[in-house]
């Protein structure tokens, strides 16, 4: 093994280094702050993320994408996802500052630090070009989130949600590792391009190849909450502190998509015929299951958990298409999903009155429009976008996915997708009806916070802009997409 290590390697992973060192700095800073100054840990976190974003910006269109002995690849595909994660993390940190105060969590700066550690794992997942790096990224992403879900330690539901998440997460990691080790046994390498070359040569045993694909698909689908592997999601989403729910729903799902698209398109593409059927079944089941069960929910966080299972199904369809167009559609979809979901969670946090938890039940939204027209309007925009109603961005996201499918001849899958969208519209619009048609049952006492206003403003502008003029961003995504 000849090995040459140069400054180029360090520069390539500079964003990851900045995030990891920044998280360590936050950990140390937290030790020396008084309780009422803990929010400075969050501000330091935002600063660190911005620094990393600048470093990533300098790496766009880099000449030599493979760094660290082909362990990491700095292509525009990974950078697109990284910027999505930066945005999601900054917005989540802004949401957290206020939430931590009202939930009596503000004596722990680790609440913010763990999110930054998780972000580090996501960056590694997006850039990993070797199964080992991707696996370590997944673990680094998941470990802090396990802790964050159980952060409300006096709440038994929070403990239960964290417990389920940890145990099922460990199980899924085991499946994923088993699949990866079988692939290594078959091809003799963990490098994605190397696996592709070995599979193209066509000497591998089809039985074991299928087995390893099934295991890896199961492991990844657990991380992105696809249908048969979703069991943890509703409990963990409901039990976690609300900003953590938002973070899990958007960032960790996005990272799982970044990794699964890269592994399946870059490494396992020669076995496309084997995996497209498996993923198509998972995607269709997720759409139907998530969207129908969401109808029965009365807790809004639980409802959004089921809806996120449905959204994972839509995005997976982009992978089933197996083209560059499909992967570009996934990138666009994840960004849009990040904005609209974070916006919805910001409104949920805003509903939370000091002292007692409110805004969790969908009935709390009755008559919101009578009380506060602006908040009701932005919630309407986010819900319409989640439901996929034009002219919001959610509609364009679904449209690109279905276009990618139809161009590959998967008409039936596209029809099923549109059908479930119609089912999904029901439970989103029900909340809109509650807000506009019902009389308020009690006094609204909305949280007033500058950070929340910023999050909502960014999300609203993003959702509307991407819905009305999606062209330029979609062009960016298509240029950065894999498999062109």
């Amino acid at each position: 093994m000849n090995f040459a290590f140069s400054i180029q390697d360090v520069l390539g992973v500079l964003p990851e280094i900045i995030i990891a060192l920044g998280a360590c700095a936050m950990l140390i800073l937290d030790l020396f702050l008084e309780r009422d100054k803990k929010e400075w840990v969050a501000y330091l976190g935002i600063f660190v993320v911005i620094l990393a974003a600048i470093a990533s910006w300098c790496l766009i269109n880099t000449a030599e994408p493979y760094v660290m002995g082909r362990m990491m690849v700095i292509d525009n595909y990974s950078l697109f996802f990284k910027f999505t994660f930066y945005l999601a993390t900054i917005l989540t940190l802004l949401l957290s500052i206020n939430y931590a105060k009202s939930a009596d969590l503000d004596y722990r700066g680790e609440f913010y630090t763990l999110m930054i550690f998780s972000l580090c794992g996501m960056l590694v997942m997006a850039s990993g070009s070797n199964l080992i790096t991707i696996y370590l990224g997944i673990e680094l992403m998941a470990l802090p989130i396990y802790v964050l879900v159980g952060f409300l330690k006096n709440d038994t539901r929070s403990n239960e949600g964290a417990m389920k998440y940890v145990i099922l997460g460990g199980f899924a990691s085991g499946l994923l590792l088993y699949g990866m080790s079988l692939i290594y046994g078959l091809t003799g390498t963990t490098d994605l391009a190397g696996i592709n070359a070995a599979l193209s040569a066509g000497t591998v045993s089809p039985v074991i190849l299928t087995l390893s694909i099934v295991l890896m698909a199961a492991g990844f689908c657990f991380k992105l909450a696809g249908f048969p592997f979703h069991m943890w999601a509703p409990d963990a989403y409901q039990a976690a502190p609300t900003p953590v729910t938002a973070f899990m729903a958007v960032a960790s799902k996005g990272a799982a998509f970044a990794a699964i698209v890269r592994v399946f398109l870059e490494a396992l593409y020669p076995a496309y015929a084997e995996w497209q059927m498996i993923l198509a079944v998972i995607a269709v089941l997720s759409m139907f299951y998530g969207n129908t069960v969401a109808i029965m929910q009365t807790n809004i966080k639980r409802m959004l958990a089921y809806s996120s299972i449905g959204h994972a199904g839509y995005a997976l369809l982009g992978l089933v298409a197996g083209t560059g167009e499909g992967s570009a559609a996934i990138m666009f979809y994840i960004l849009v999903y990040t904005l609209m979901n974070l916006g919805a969670f910001a409104v949920i946090i805003m509903m939370r009155k000091t002292g007692k938890v409110a805004g969790d039940s969908i009935y709390d939204y009755k008559g919101l429009a009578k009380n506060n027209k602006v908040v009701a309007l932005v919630m309407l925009i986010f819900l319409f976008s989640l439901a996929g109603i034009p002219p919001m961005a959610g509609f364009m996201g679904k449209l690109y996915i279905f276009m990618a499918l139809i161009n590959q001849g998967y008409i039936i899958l596209a029809v099923l997708g549109i059908l479930t969208t119609a089912i999904a519209a029901f439970f989103y619009i029900r909340i809109v009806l509650f807000m506009y048609m019902k009389e308020p049952e009690g006094e609204f006492d909305l949280v007033k916070s500058c950070a929340l206003y910023i999050v909502i403003a960014i999300s609203v502008i993003g959702v509307i802009l991407l819905g009305v003029v999606p062209g330029s961003l979609m062009e960016l995504a298509s240029k950065a997409a894999l498999l062109l």
Partner: protein
């Protein structure tokens, strides 16, 4: 021959010795069990609840987890130490390990300041 064969033999010998001691005790030791002798003693009263289990401090658990972390760290030092003799890469891997250790030292400092190492 298998590498480290002598160590394997030694471990086998230790295992046999330990088992032999237990078996001999089982065969030759006096056995005189009765109910009162086997019950845990609690102030001369009939035992209530989990007297035989005792109380268990959660702190042990924390120490165990910290132990695992540093155990894994130590494990990486073995191949590193073997490789340090190679002059062509020794300087490089020396600093590589320093970075690894510094990151974990941050954790140690954190644990220390948080009082995870205090017993009371």
């Amino acid at each position: 021959m298998v590498p480290y064969f002598s160590i394997l033999i030694m471990m086998g010998f230790v295992g046999i010795l330990g088992t032999a001691a237990l078996v001999m005790n089982k065969i030759m030791g006096p056995k005189n069990f009765y109910k009162d002798k086997l019950s845990p003693w609690e102030c001369g009263m009939p035992p209530v609840g989990d007297a035989d289990r005792g109380h268990f401090k959660v702190h042990y658990f924390l120490i165990a987890i910290l132990f695992i972390v540093f155990d894994v760290e130590t494990l990486f030092l073995f191949p590193w130490a073997v490789l340090l003799a190679d002059k062509t890469i020794s300087l490089f891997i020396f600093f590589e390990m320093i970075i690894f250790l510094v990151i974990l030292a941050v954790g140690l400092a954190y644990a220390w300041k948080k009082g995870a190492l205090d017993w009371v």
